[in-house]
């Protein structure tokens, strides 16, 4: 059964969402928009893109997907 991810996994997820799903955090204030998407919303977008169960929560399946080697170009939007 899925196990709740550990804290460092959340760090990994935030980094992933920041790189590939334009998650805005305090690290990149110049990119901040009026409406800030939450981690959960970005997770939903990522889960939907990869055909995973869309929960908005960081489950093992989502973390496994994030650990796969990949292209550095964002999956949706903000590609310049």
């Amino acid at each position: 059964a899925p196990v709740a991810p550990e804290v460092d996994t959340m760090m990994l997820a935030k980094g992933y969402l920041r790189n590939f799903y334009s998650l805005e955090t305090e690290l990149r204030p110049s990119f901040r928009r009026k409406i800030t998407d939450s981690v959960s919303e970005k997770l939903r977008k990522m889960q939907s893109f990869f055909g995973l169960k869309v929960t908005g929560k960081l489950n093992n399946e989502t973390v496994e997907m994030m650990k796969q080697p990949r292209c550095g170009v964002p999956d949706i939007g903000e590609y310049v």
């Binding site: 055909g51 990949r70 292209c71 590609y79």
Partner: protein, 365 residues
């Protein structure tokens, strides 16, 4: 397509290879890059000419960590490469992470596959959610000798640059739909509690306790395997996975092929006139493996490592009128025999067919 639909204003583009990775011979890098360009020039009216000096439209280089474009690499794995959308200066350029292990085969990361993907971005394609497409964001090794650009990618690039000038339009493989009512399987097997369904280049992973089904390229898990696996079974005792295609079979321990494989199926005891195995399953209780070939089946003893006496037998004599078996596996004491779009649930204790199901019944469609 990338937001804003950027594209090159000309069809005759230039490229330049700025530097080389020490992982590969320069000639092999040149060849991988050339072939990556051909993937796209084969399907749209674009041409790519290599130049040795000056500014090319597409500059390709191997870069280390922070390399000044705002998108640093972070060491091995993770992000392998990136590219910039069509445009002047850095536009179209491709950067490979120097800290990856680049190869021309299935070890490490295959440069041709990554370059072909990145060039899709250089030409104006975004990522595709189709797991069989070249523009899927995650790396998956695939056979590079017989590479065909998937139809999803062809549709994308032709939407930007139009159709090929060739008299016959190129076509590519499409990813099968998980809930396609016409879906049939080449092979089905259990593996460490999951069920694996094979079809062409793809396999579906299904965990009995998780509703979703995941589709992947077979080569993502077993790079050494060809596409079109015809039979598969799990040897639970040895924690090994056995896969068949034509007259060869491979034994895998996790993702590694066991030394000495592939071997010929005749080494299992099949007569020379048997050219391929259609289906196989292993009975976890008895250590017997059943092989289906045309209208007959053989029984193999995994402990003695030899075929049992008295075989082959006619499938119809034991399993009923199910015809040729495409795929088979054992689950919860029942045997499931797949034929086309249907599967037969067979009870080995009562020797009776319990019911007939759609082949995709496991996918929660």
């Amino acid at each position: 397509l990338i937001d804003g639909n950027p594209k090159w204003p000309r069809n005759d583009l230039t490229y330049r290879i700025i530097n080389y990775t020490p992982d590969m011979r320069p000639a092999d890098v040149d060849e991988a890059i050339k072939q990556a360009f051909e993937v796209w020039s084969n399907v749209v009216p674009l041409t790519f000419r290599r130049i040795e000096d000056g500014a090319a439209d597409i500059m390709m280089s191997f870069q280390y960590r922070d390399h000044g474009d705002g998108y640093p690499f972070y060491g091995p794995h993770g992000t392998l490469a990136h590219a910039f959308q069509p445009g002047p200066r850095i536009g179209g350029d491709v950067h490979f992470d120097e800290e990856e292990t680049w190869t021309k085969n299935s070890r490490g990361y295959n440069l041709f596959i990554v370059a072909a993907h990145e060039l899709g971005h250089s030409l104006g394609l975004a990522h595709s959610p189709d797991p069989g497409s070249l523009m899927y964001p995650n790396y998956a090794y695939r056979d590079t000798k017989d590479f065909h650009l998937p139809q999803d990618d062809i549709n994308g690039i032709q939407a930007i640059y139009g159709q090929s000038l060739q008299p016959v339009q190129p076509t590519g493989p499409s990813t099968p739909g998980t809930c396609d009512p016409n879906l049939s399987f080449d092979a089905v097997a259990t593996l460490r509690g999951e069920m694996l369904f094979f079809k062409g280049r793809y396999l579906w992973r299904k965990h009995p306790q998780i509703r979703e089904t995941e589709i992947n390229l077979i080569s993502q898990f077993w790079p050494a395997l060809p596409a079109g696996i015809q039979a598969a079974y799990e040897n639970v005792e040895k924690d090994q996975f056995v896969l068949f295609k034509e007259d060869k079979y491979w034994v895998f321990k996790e993702s590694n092929v066991v030394h000495g494989y592939p071997k010929r199926i005749h080494q299992l005891g099949f007569p020379k006139n048997v050219k391929r195995i259609n289906a196989a399953f292993s009975d976890k209780n008895t250590g017997k493996t059943y092989f289906f070939v045309a209208n007959k089946y053989w029984r193999y003893d995994e402990n003695r490592q030899s075929m049992d006496e008295g075989y082959p037998r006619n499938i119809i004599s034991v399993f009923g009128k199910i015809g040729k078996v495409d795929a088979a596996f054992q689950h919860d004491g029942y045997i499931y025999l797949f034929h086309g779009r249907k599967q037969t649930q067979f009870d080995p204790n009562t020797k009776q067919v319990v019911r007939v199901l759609k082949s995709t019944s496991w996918f929660s469609c």
